[in-house]
Every structure is written in structure tokens, then in C-alpha cells.
């Protein structure tokens, strides 16, 4: 009898078919990362932003057209519509000019937490209190500190007084609203312990934590997050009753899951690399809608410009002339990437259309290196007058297959002009936590920046942002680039409120980038979205705000 039962059970394991059939109104999304926390502000992870997009809304965000819009406010404050005005502030704060800006937002009248409690200015005040509390451990605390005061106009309207005037005055996408009625007691009891007491991690299925089209109903740590329709959502009704976000870190397994029906789609934000998607498209392209969204991921090379070897701009220009970037894009990435002229994306409105990428020209590279005093030695490697070889490490994150392939091409192409690059990769935590952060690299570093549209490169190019022991290794100017003229342009861009005036300044900055070459631009990455043929309305953004922020626009084609 026992044997019969075992046989029946085994049969049942295989008979339940198909293996991954989902309920009709469920969408399963496969991503390659699982968030460590679902708290909206404590830590920043792409997976957190992606899932939060389904269940929460930032006050403002950049949309798929890269325009700043209101998501949790009725009107985007501007100086023109009177919702923003320049005010006097203490010269002890901000940039020391004594000018700040007061920006007034109104929350949507029907906006409510998932338990029906209205979202009010009290939640805004509470979030500000948590965000700037030194013991909470919010890593991105700068925004909260820049807010000098919050004046409550009424239940739904509040005015933020910012400590400085800048053209991004009305963008507060990082202000992660918290429900005072749920999180208040945990925070006030012991702010230092709030991090480990927050309901976002202890009881993430609490309805009142969420206020998007969906709310989290189940979290299997490390595996998946289940979200269901939020009955308190005030916007257009989303198409699916339930969305499951499943984490499959191994991309080959993720592909298999997609083919087997275990997941319905793989988003570009946290999915396959372009080369993997191209290979997938060749085999299974007809079964899915595959799109490649050009993104603001800026792949580039940084060299320590304060080292004698790289101090001469002719050397840096020669290194770039020697790389056939278009060929790399065509051969390795099926032409889906965009060769970069500078760090400003050609899709950004501030892009300088008259500038063209440095051409692939090995002869020009050789000539520049000759002029810079690096002449070929008997082994083909160039040397300077002191006999020092033009030889340096070429580093990137170990295990990043795409970058490792690019590295090999770079190494071979540089070799053609007498430059010796030795591939020396490190795990991400060592590369970003030590080698780059503490400026220990002596050669070329291959990595990417991701930004929002019209992102001012202060932290990566300004003289004040070079990491040193004295500033506790803060700043992201790893190359050690310092050009007072470029600093001046950056300073002017930040405070120029007039769009046209800013456009002129952005053009100047891009010309300075072309002349000075603080880094070596490679290309702008694309994000491959592999979607089911029946899913419509998903608009990839290509920047930090994920496509899930507009999930209510996703529809099912019958």
C-alpha cells in the first residue's frame, strides 16, 4: 500500500502540467537580484527601486521621455507657476550665498496608504525626521539635510525650504515617503534600532506600507516578492491581479525559466546583458517581443590623470584613437549600443549635436604617442626617454563577462599601437570599495556610471571631489581630474535656472570634455527587455527610474 502511495505521489510530480502555468491574471517578472531590504530609503539597490515602482510612488520622477513629472503631486513646482520661489536663508548653510528656494507640493487628494489612511503632510514631516536622524543610518541622507524646513500648508500641501538654489530644485525623487502611522512608533521608541525594527523588513505584507497600484503580500527572502492589487490605489486600475517578482541570479537559469514559463518577462533594468539577449533573440526571438532601450549607463575608461604616464592629454587621446569602438559595438553587441562622444548621452536634450566621437585612427594614435615622447621599443612596446614602458593594468569587475570581452579587444587594439595593457580584474567589492575608491589604481579602469537625465557631473569631475584620505575618500572623481575652468562651468550649470542659458553652458562643458579628455568614453549601454508578445504598454526609461513606476499602463493584448 505504501509503495502504491509513493508511486502515485511520484506520478503526480510529473503529471501536473504545464509546469509553470500561471493564473490568467498573474504576471511573473524574472530579475537577477533580490533586494536586501524593502525599506525605501535605508539602502539603495536597483532591485529595491524596481519592486518599489510597483508598490510606491516617488513625489517626482523622470518619465520614459526623460522629462521630470509629478507622480505623487498635483503640479510640478516651477518658478513660473509660482510654486517655487527664491528665498533668503542663512549664509551658514548650503552653498553660502544666502539664497535658498521654497518649493510647494500638493499631494493628490485621493492619495492613501494601502490600509486606507490618507497620505498627508504629516507623513512628509515624519519622513524628513527619519531621513536626517543621524542614528538611523540612511546612506543617502544629503537630500534630507538640504531641506532646512518643511512648512505644512494644509493636510495635502507642504513647502520645502531648500538650503540652495539649483536647477534641480523641484526634483525630489529620492524623498522616500514613510507612513507615520505605522513606522512612527518603531522610530520614536529607539531611532538607533529603527533599522532593524522597520515594518518594511519585519512585516512587509502590512498593507499600510504601500501606496502604489500593487501592495506587497508575500516575501520569500532571496526568492520572490508577491504583489497584489492595492484596493486603496487612486489611479487607473492595473491589468493584473497579481505580480510576482522572482529573483534568478544565474542568467542562463533565468533564460531557462523564461522558456519554461516560470517567468513571463525579463526587464532590462535587472536582466540579461545585451550580448546574452542577442544570443537569446537568435534562438527564440519569434516567441518574445525584444527591445533594446538605449540607457544612461555610460561605459568608459578612467585613468589616473595625475600619474605622469597619463598626465599628457595626447596619451589619453591616442588611447581613444586606437580603439575601434564602433566595431566593438557592432561585433560584440550587434550594433545595439551607442558610441559615446562624451559622458552626455545623445538622447539627453543637453547633448551637443556638433561634436562627434573621436575617430578610430591607429595612425593618429601612433603620431600622438610619438609626439608625447613614447617611441616604440625593440619589443614593440613604447617607452619614454627614461625607458619606462607604456604598460599599465587594465581593470574591471571580475566575472562581468561583457566587460571582460571588451577588455580583450581593448588590449589587442592598444597592442597594435605599442601600448601594453595587462588585464587585472578584481571582485566588485574590492574594485569599488578599495582600489577605485581609494585611488589605488595605476592604469585604466573600465566601468559605468548610471545617472538621471541632465545629470551634473560635479561628483565625478570637480576638483573638490577627488577622493583623498583627508576627505575620508568621499567624491567620485577617481581619475583625479582637476580643471578650474571646468569647475566654473559645473558651478554655473548647477545654479542656472534658465533652460536656454543652461543649454549654452552644457555645450561649453561638452567642448571642455572633448578638449581635456578626463576620461575615455566608450559607449552608452542598452537595456534589453524581453517581453511576452501579449504584454503592451511597457515603456522602458533607460535611466534610474524603473519602468514599473508606470505599471498601471501595462495592458494585456487578448
Amino acid at each position: 500500500m505504501v509503495i502504491v502511495r509513493i508511486c502515485l505521489l511520484l506520478a503526480a510530480l510529473f503529471v501536473v502540467m504545464p509546469a509553470q502555468a500561471q493564473p490568467a491574471k498573474t504576471l511573473t517578472i524574472g530579475i537577477t537580484q533580490f533586494p536586501h531590504t524593502l525599506h525605501p530609503t535605508i539602502d539603495s539597490m536597483a532591485a529595491t527601486s524596481y519592486i518599489m515602482g510597483l508598490a510606491r510612488r516617488p513625489i517626482t520622477a523622470y518619465d520614459a521621455d526623460w522629462q521630470l513629472i509629478c507622480l505623487l503631486c498635483t503640479d510640478l513646482p516651477t518658478l513660473k507657476n509660482g510654486r517655487a520661489e527664491v528665498v533668503e536663508v542663512s549664509k551658514e548653510v548650503g552653498d553660502g550665498t544666502g539664497r535658498g528656494i521654497a518649493v510647494t507640493y500638493t499631494l493628490p487628494p485621493k492619495a492613501a496608504w494601502g490600509d486606507g489612511t490618507p497620505i498627508t503632510a504629516a507623513d512628509v514631516l515624519f519622513t524628513w525626521e527619519v531621513g536626517r536622524h543621524p542614528q538611523v543610518g540612511i546612506s543617502a541622507a544629503e537630500l534630507y539635510r538640504r531641506i532646512l524646513d518643511i512648512k505644512v500648508v494644509d493636510d495635502k500641501t507642504f513647502t520645502l525650504v531648500m538650503d540652495r538654489v539649483g536647477f534641480t530644485y523641484n526634483s525630489i525623487g529620492d524623498f522616500g515617503l514613510l507612513p507615520a502611522h505605522i513606522e512612527g512608533p518603531a522610530f520614536r521608541d529607539d531611532p538607533a534600532a529603527y533599522r532593524s525594527r522597520t515594518a518594511y523588513d519585519r512585516a512587509p505584507a502590512t498593507p499600510g506600507l504601500w501606496f502604489g497600484p500593487y501592495r506587497v503580500t508575500e516575501v520569500s527572502q532571496g526568492a520572490q516578492v508577491v504583489l497584489e492589487r492595492n484596493p486603496a490605489w487612486w489611479g487607473p486600475s492595473p491589468a493584473f491581479d497579481r505580480i510576482i517578482v522572482k529573483a534568478v541570479e544565474n542568467t542562463a537559469a533565468l533564460e531557462a525559466n523564461l522558456l519554461a514559463g516560470g517567468v513571463d518577462m525579463i526587464p532590462g533594468e535587472l536582466g540579461l546583458a545585451v550580448d546574452q539577449a542577442l544570443a537569446f533573440e537568435k534562438r527564440h526571438g519569434s516567441r518574445f517581443a525584444i527591445t533594446y532601450k538605449p540607457s544612461l549607463y555610460y561605459e568608459h575608461l578612467e585613468v589616473p590623470v595625475d600619474l605622469p604616464m597619463f598626465a599628457d592629454v595626447r596619451v589619453r587621446r591616442a588611447l581613444l584613437h586606437a580603439i575601434d569602438r564602433q566595431s566593438i559595438v557592432d561585433q560584440l553587441f550587434g550594433g545595439k549600443l551607442t558610441v559615446a562622444t562624451t559622458r552626455v548621452s545623445p538622447l539627453d536634450w543637453i547633448h551637443h549635436p556638433d561634436l562627434k566621437p573621436v575617430a578610430f585612427d591607429p595612425d593618429a594614435a601612433r603620431q600622438l604617442l610619438d609626439e608625447a615622447g613614447w617611441t616604440p621599443g625593440s619589443d614593440g612596446i613604447r617607452r619614454n626617454a627614461e625607458g619606462q614602458a607604456l604598460s599599465f593594468p587594465l581593470q574591471t569587475t571580475a566575472g562581468n563577462r561583457t566587460r571582460e570581452r571588451v577588455q580583450q579587444v581593448l588590449q589587442a587594439q592598444w597592442r597594435q599601437v605599442g601600448v601594453d595593457a595587462q588585464i587585472r580584474n578584481e571582485p566588485a567589492r574590492v574594485l569599488f570599495g578599495e582600489t577605485m575608491n581609494k585611488r589605488q589604481f595605476k592604469g585604466a579602469m573600465l566601468f559605468a556610471w548610471i545617472s538621471s537625465p541632465e545629470n551634473v557631473p560635479r561628483s565625478t569631475l570637480h576638483c573638490d571631489e577627488i577622493p583623498t584620505e583627508a576627505n575620508a575618500w568621499t567624491g567620485q572623481n577617481y581619475a583625479g581630474w582637476c580643471d578650474p575652468k571646468m569647475d566654473e562651468t559645473i558651478d554655473l550649470i548647477e545654479v542656472e535656472l534658465d533652460r536656454e542659458g543652461r543649454h549654452v553652458l552644457w555645450r561649453r562643458l561638452q567642448e571642455q570634455l572633448m578638449d581635456g579628455m578626463p576620461d575615455l568614453p566608450l559607449f552608452f549601454r542598452s537595456e534589453p527587455f524581453i517581453l511576452p508578445l501579449w504584454l503592451k504598454g511597457l515603456r522602458p526609461t533607460g535611466h534610474l527610474n524603473p519602468s514599473t513606476l508606470w505599471v498601471e499602463q501595462w495592458t494585456v493584448e487578448q
Binding site: L13, M17, E142, G433, A472, T474
Partner: protein, 319 residues
Amino acid sequence: MTRALRRLGQSVLVLLIMSFVIYGLIGLMPGDPVDLMIATLPNITPADIARLRELHGLDLPIWERWWSWLTAALGGDLGNSRLYGAPVESVIAGPLLRSLMLIAASLTIALAVALPIGILAALRPRGVFDTVANLVAFVGLSMPTFWLGIMLIMLFAVTFGWLPAGGVPQTGAGLVETLRHMVLPVATLAVGTVGQYTRYMRAAMIETLNQDYVRTALAKGAGRWRIVLRHALRNALIPVVTVLALDFGMLFSGALITETVFAWPGMGKLIFDAVMGNDYALALAALLLATAVTLLGNALADAAYGWLDPRIRRGSKAP
């Protein structure tokens, strides 16, 4: 009793030393959590860094941090996970259960398959069955886990659509659904283990069957199967038990690849993330748990030796 107490004392000492070694090794790795935050936060200030270092206790020397962890742990507080922002025990609970499910199932299957095959192969060394068993064992041992996992997914999930490609069943899923999710990861883990134990069992049995007492028994007319099962098997199992005890701890923490391929978040992945994310409290607790399981496995193996060979229990010496 005295022996058990001595054993317990030794285990506690090992755990204590391991806790310091683990803490020290994680601390020696370049790049602490705040260093990594700096890389992703353009506006972070030196004051923020000082604040965050103090908050996470990173401003103290390693030995001081370890001591405060130890005193809290002895009081029952294993601390909070820095990555997950929750008490360590609650973070570990789910992955621990999932790992135990995989390991228990894969070891049971592996032993159930490997031991009979190893015994049968040993009865006629270099015979047809032995050759085929050896070949299969080597194939199992040689196949990379990630490759085998993907192949099984392609076959049973993609091509036939019989089983889920990975992931964990949703809350409230029944036994059948849970088992369906376990089939492929368990099979992947078991294949390599079957090959390994088949080889050990075969070698140990061949050696045992060549002992004088076996030949004597044969000369006295005892049946072949009676000799194998009643006399030789117990002795032949001793080296297998040794390997099994060592493997238990390794399987517990080392199923990382299987867990990653099948999106089955267990202890391997948890330990990897904790170490890479500089989550001292979580890494310590998880690795010490793995150490404790290994020690427990060894203690059970010692007990098993005594059952398999009473001479060991009595502490008598071989002539």
C-alpha cells in the same frame, strides 16, 4: 560521560576559535560596507562616513568588535543582519530550512543509490557491472553542477514542461508542489554525490572482502551475501561514514551553485552574500552553524564507528 563532556568542550573551543578566525578574515577583506556606499553615493560627506562607521561599529578594532559580538552572543543576542536589517536568527531560519530539505533529500537518495551500486560493483571487480558503475560514477563526478543543473532545467522544464525551472513554492503550496520544486535541485546535488559514494563504497568493500576473516568465512561455507551483509558491510561502511560526516557540513554551506541555478535561496547563497556584503553578524552565525553541523556530523560518525565496529567503542587496539 567524561568522553562526551570532553568532546563538548573541544567543540566549544573550536567554535570559539572559528568565530575569531571568521571575524578576522572578513575584517581583512578589502572594502568595508561604508567604502562600498561611498562608491554609489555621490553626495555622501566625510561626516556621513564617520556617522555610518560608528553606527555599524566599523570604527573599532576588529578584536574589540569580535569581543562585543561574543559577549552579546553568549547572552543569546546574535545581533542584527546589516544587509537585511533583521535579527540574524530570523534571516537564517528560512534558508536553513530550505538547505536542510535539499541536503536531507539529496543525501538520502545518494546513499540509497550509491551504497548498493558500490557493493555490487565490489563483488566482481572489473566485471561488466563494475565497469558500467565506474563509468557512471565518473560521469556523475565529472559533470559541473551548474552545467548539469541547466541541462536538467532545459530537459524537464523547457522541453517536457514537467517540472518548474526553479524558485521556491509560494506560501501555502501543498506537498506535491513543494516536491516538484525540489526534484531538479535535489537531482543535481545527488548526481555528483552518488558518484562519489559509489567509488568509496566500492573501494572499501573490495578491501574488506580481501580480509582474512572473509576468506575464512568463505572457507567455512558461509553464503556470499550473508558474508557481505552480515560481516563485510559494517567494516566497509567506516570510511564511507567518515566522508559522509565531513560532507555534511560542506553540503550545508557549499550548495551555492545549485541554489543559484535553481533560485533556491539556501544557506550557501546566504553565506556568500553575507561575506561579500561584510555582514559580520550574519556571516558569523551562518558559518558557525556550518561548523557546528560539521562537528555534530563528526560526533555522529564517532558514534557510528562504535556501532559498526565495537572494538572502536571499547578502545581496543588491533592485534
